[in-house]
């Protein structure tokens, strides 16, 4: 089954074509990466899929449902999670609260239970807390539950953002440059984490990334973008050897 079907996406900002007739699909359980030089339009594609930008043209199907034009808050409710290129945590909230928010969004209680603190309120709260604790353990953030998110070191903030995206129990997770600002050792850890996350939460992944090592070792398929267009799509090995791709990356040959 195709979890995501993107058909002929177009978006211009002023006169600039940021994304020009992009089509692709992601099958259930797959890991697909979008690569391309800076400014190629990768993040714009993410923002179009997740509804943060309005499409000029095209359509997006998520689990066979037309989601074009839906308000962006609807998509997480249908099972689409995302992270952001330049990390957006709830900085002043604690690590625990960062996760609890998504949990209680997914499984909550109504206003009556809130005002009068019914038993249902306490049950739901403690269930959510339990799940949040599981995520905290899984992402090795134990002991930091009550720290404000913005007080964590960079690597832990990255992990927390991933954990928060999982707090809504998505089927499809869109990860925007998870390896940004990481050294080779951290990239290795990140690859392991993403593998484990995918396995544990049976996810379908769509990743934007620059780090070729990460892309090559995680992806089932790779989509290459340049100047807003898809210049090719194929298996990691095919992409690595393609001359158009090498050209787009200024003649650099990939290693990894």
């Amino acid at each position: 089954m195709n979890v995501l079907e993107v058909e002929n996406l177009r978006k211009s900002f002023g006169g600039v074509k940021a994304v020009d007739s992009i089509s692709f699909h992601v099958r259930e359980g797959e890991t697909v990466s979008i690569i391309g030089p800076n400014g190629a339009g990768k993040t714009t594609v993410f923002n179009l899929i997740t509804g943060f930008y309005k499409l000029d043209e095209g359509s997006v199907l998520f689990r066979n449902r037309e989601i074009t034009g839906l308000s962006p808050f609807r998509l997480p409710r249908l099972g689409m999670g995302r992270t952001f290129q330049n990390m957006r945590l709830f900085g002043e909230l604690t690590v625990f609260e960062n996760l609890l928010s998504g949990m209680l969004r997914k499984n909550g209680y109504n206003i009556f239970s809130t005002l009068f603190r019914t038993n249902h309120y306490f049950e739901t709260e403690s269930k959510a807390e339990e799940k949040a604790r599981e995520l905290i353990d899984f992402f090795h953030l134990s002991g930091k539950e009550d720290y404000p998110a913005n007080s964590l070191p960079y690597g832990e903030q990255r992990r927390l953002e991933l954990a928060r995206a999982l707090s809504i129990e998505p089927n499809l997770l869109l990860i925007d440059e998870p390896g940004a600002g990481m050294n080779p050792k951290e990239i290795q850890d990140l690859i392991e984490t993403i593998r484990a996350v995918k396995e544990r939460f049976s996810l379908t992944l769509l990743i934007i990334e620059h780090q070729m090592g990460l892309v090559m070792s995680l992806s089932d398929r790779v989509i290459v973008m340049d100047f807003g267009e898809k210049i090719m799509e194929g298996l990691p090995d095919e992409v690595r050897k393609d001359t158009r791709v090498i050209e787009a990356y200024l003649g650099e040959e990939f290693t990894g």
Binding site: R74, R88, L89, E92, Y109, F122
Partner: protein, 312 residues
């Protein structure tokens, strides 16, 4: 019910406060003037709590809070006039209605303006506050009873210690329950990062409207109690300067702290009225030299308010 079991400590404390104040008032140990400003400080706490929900928790900067306080005050005064209400019990539904109506007004006004961010929202709420003041100044042209720029006179004095204290405590508990629920968490998430909130499925427009309407509801209830404490309303009580009062209380108390707002409300009213007693009559204007200076010092010394630690 859980609500009361959970809140027994606060209810006990409220009972003690009530006992102490009642004794002081009944035996005439405190003047009528002190009694009045004590009740007034509770009213300020209710309304400031509303602004704290809107600004301190949800991050929506409003300079129009006094207008909503005014809507509550004028509505309840009008209701008691029309229905010739004089007792506390028949006043309760009128008070509730004034609060709800103010909440609805907040909802309707919130739909367009809450789409704005930060300083743009501040300007829009400022605009609304100014419009409301002009509306009140000319209110006698469409409803004689409201009194226009001469003020609304002849309001029965209904607000007493029992009513004010029980309403205050009840609303503090309700507010606490909201703040520590998922809704409060969503509000704080929105304040921290609106886009990230959307990414976990929070309907930010709806949640901001909810916070704004609830905050306005609290302002409306505060206004209703105020009208029937001072028995006279004047448009100048509900202008931008009054909005600043609420803002100062929220900031002194620490944004996003219920206990902070309570202390700050008491301190603020106590301070302004206290200076009125301490300073000789011809030097009363000095209040507005002393208070701003203290505020500047406070902001330099404790920019996040006197009470910054969140209490759960």
């Amino acid at each position: 019910m859980n609500f009361f079991i959970e809140s027994r400590k606060i209810l006990l404390l409220a009972l003690l406060v009530y006992g102490a104040l009642k004794v002081l008032f009944v035996f005439g140990l405190l003047s009528q003037y002190i009694e009045q400003i004590t009740l007034f400080s509770f009213i300020m706490i209710i309304a400031s709590l509303g602004l704290n929900v809107i600004y301190g928790y949800t991050g929506q900067f409003s300079l129009g809070h006094a207008a909503f306080y005014g809507i509550g005050a004028y509505t309840s005064a009008y209701l008691t006039k029309v229905f010739e209400i004089e007792g506390v019990i028949p006043f309760l539904p009128a008070l509730l209605l004034s609060g709800l109506l103010t909440g609805c007004a907040g909802y309707v006004i919130g739909i367009p303006i809450l789409k704005l961010r930060d300083d743009f929202l501040a300007i829009a709420t400022l605009g609304f506050g100014t419009l409301f003041r002009v509306l009140l100044d000319n209110s006698d042209k469409f409803a004689e009873a409201l009194g226009g720029s001469r003020g609304f006179v002849g309001i029965p004095r209904i607000t007493n210690l029992e009513l004010t204290l029980s309403v205050t405590v009840f609303l503090i508990l309700i507010t606490r329950n909201l703040i520590f629920s998922r809704y409060g968490l969503f509000w704080r998430s929105i304040k921290a990062d609106e886009l990230a909130s959307v990414s976990i499925g929070i309907d930010t427009a709806k949640m901001k409207l909810m916070a704004f309407s609830y905050g306005c509801f609290l302002a409306g209830i505060g206004g209703g109690l105020y009208a029937h404490l001072y028995t006279f309303l004047h448009p100048s009580n509900f202008d931008i300067l009054k909005s600043i009062d609420f803002l100062i209380i929220v900031i002194i108390g620490g944004m996003g702290s219920i206990t902070g707002t309570i202390y700050a409300g008491l301190i603020w009213v106590g301070f302004i009225e206290g200076l009125r007693i301490v300073l000789p009559a011809e030097m009363l204007d000095l209040r507005w030299v002393i208070i701003p200076l203290l505020l500047i010092l406070l902001m330099m010394w404790k920019p996040y308010g006197l009470i910054t630690k969140r209490s759960r």
